[in-house]
């Protein structure tokens, strides 16, 4: 979707051929499938199931010129912006959901620190429609939302039109097709067939619209587990370029039935990142100073096991 996207995509697209076992490490998945300049959809379930482990790995690998796509990705986008990984943001909301404004996002747009970024404003609906259009292979989807809002002008990609049915005003929301969508889910098989439960937000549209999908599964399970309940599949293996088993990949955001949201971690981040030095200290302590996500979880100490939830079982369903 960005000028660079086709190039980066052609370097990395999995094509349409089904490849059976796509398990790899998080390092290798990001290295192989998210080159500089990629358009990347992250946090498409809105507040929950945000693949923070992948966000941290993008920062560790010093990705640049990324084009971020997501309606509300809580502090994931703020971290990537603060770390200088981002050229453009397509989003409906960028902040710290329970704490307030996003300091890095503010510094980037107000002062071009650490760099200037291009913001393409959306609402949650237009973000969803643009990804749905991508998933459908449709050029755009028309809507009546945002008529009279200044968002369409700020976004710059929406097209004002009138309906051929009744001449009423419409906005045409062009398709967004991310180079890669990164999804966190509870379980997936080694091919990439992924079960996610709880809120989906715009995750399925983002996965189906993408050229490649990277799955961060809390648990990699046997094919028979996935095939026992095909209605839970949010993304089919045919779209998946890499499957990584990463326990706790979404911390500090929640993953339904696995662990709760770590509210205090979000509030700490908010307090710690008010200035550039504070952000750099925070990112060194929690991201660049750590080799991988397992170390990150260990660093959380007993705060992490306390977040775990057993969950409540779903009623029996038989196929």
């Amino acid at each position: 979707m960005s000028p660079r996207s086709p190039r980066s995509a052609s370097r990395t697209t999995r094509g349409s051929k089904h490849i059976p076992d796509q398990r790899t490490s998080l390092h290798d998945a990001i290295a192989a499938h998210v080159p500089d300049g990629s358009s990347v959809a992250i946090g498409c379930a809105l507040e929950p199931a945000i693949p923070f482990a992948a966000v941290h790995e993008l920062i560790r690998q010093r990705r640049v010129d990324l084009e971020l796509i997501g309606p509300i990705s809580d502090i994931a986008f703020d971290m990537l912006i603060g770390a200088g990984c981002v050229a453009t943001v397509h989003a409906a909301w960028v902040g710290n959901v329970s704490a307030g404004l996003a300091h890095c996002y503010r510094r980037a747009t107000e002062q071009a620190v650490p760099r200037a970024i291009r913001v393409r404003d959306h609402s949650n609906f237009t973000m969803g429609l643009s990804l749905l259009a991508g998933a459908l292979g449709a050029p755009y989807i028309p809507t009546r939302t945002l008529l009279g809002s200044d968002i369409p002008a700020a976004n710059g990609t929406f097209i004002a039109a009138t309906s051929p049915l009744d001449d009423s005003p419409l906005l045409l929301i062009p398709a967004i097709t991310p180079d890669v969508t990164i999804l966190a889910c509870q379980r997936a098989d080694m091919d990439g067939n992924a079960h996610q439960w709880g809120p989906w937000g715009v995750s399925q549209e983002a996965a189906l619209a993408a050229r490649n999908v990277i799955i961060l599964a809390d648990e990699i399970v046997d094919r028979s587990v996935i095939a026992s309940d095909p209605n839970r599949t949010i993304c089919p293996a045919t779209k998946v370029a890499a499957v990584v088993e990463v326990a706790g990949a979404c911390h500090p955001s929640p993953l339904q039935g696995r662990y709760r949201r770590d509210h205090e971690f979000f509030h700490d981040y908010h307090r710690s990142t008010r200035d550039v030095e504070g952000f750099e200290r925070w990112i060194a302590e929690w991201v660049t100073g750590l080799p991988d996500h397992a170390t990150y979880l260990r660093k959380l100490g007993d705060r992490w096991p306390k977040l775990r939830e057993a969950g409540v079982p779903a009623a029996e369903t038989r196929f």
């Binding site: 509300i72 107000e110 949650n124 008529l147 809002s149 809120p199 039935g257």
Partner: protein, 254 residues
Amino acid sequence: MEISPGEVMVAQAAREIADGETVFVGMRLPLIAFVVAKRTHAPNAIGLFELGVVRDAPSPELLYTMGDTPNVRGAVWCARTVDLMGLLQQGVVDAGFIGGAEIDRYGNLNTTAIGADRAHPVVQLPGSGGGADIASLATRLIVIMPHDKRRLRERVDFITSPGYGTGGDWRRRMGLPRGGPAVLITTLGVFRFPDGEAVLESHHAHSSTAECIANTGWPLRASPAVRETDPPSAEVLHIIRGYDPEGFWTRRGE
């Protein structure tokens, strides 16, 4: 314990929800208003959350975000965001709550950026989320925000969520199918939009008509029948304080 502005606002917001209505709830004070409405006069109200959650019974625990695991457990539907936004666009969502950093006399809201040039903001705000969609498409919009002169402005720098534009038939001319602000609930008072412009209906007990006018950035009209906002009943206060015992949302002076 003294009644906080947040508690007065929650009590008023709850009164705006009628029984059996489908309402986009959102977080913070509106969430608590939904809890109050469900447990008092609106037991059959249905709550929609933008990430795709539909609830008949509110989460038993205080939420920090709509994606918190207790808000999903016991939901009647985990939909996709576009499914709920589709219902909104169809016109079958009765009301929706939103907050705002700035609002103007015609109920237009800015949650995008302060400053004349959106590309070079003086203050970058988080953005619309689903707020602009609710403002565009819900049958009724219920706005909740802190009251001060810098927030209630003659004109907002950026219209994120359309209210009545410049008044008159502006919404129809823009192509918006329905809706617009039904009420503005601030830390000082309650405002209606009889002809598209905010009119003071009542000031809260801790405030006054004069204070509302003094803290509004345009020549504020007050209803001839302006009165004091009904205080929360003991029952309602009990529900609010039971749900938000720390006052995380209701005592932060929002």
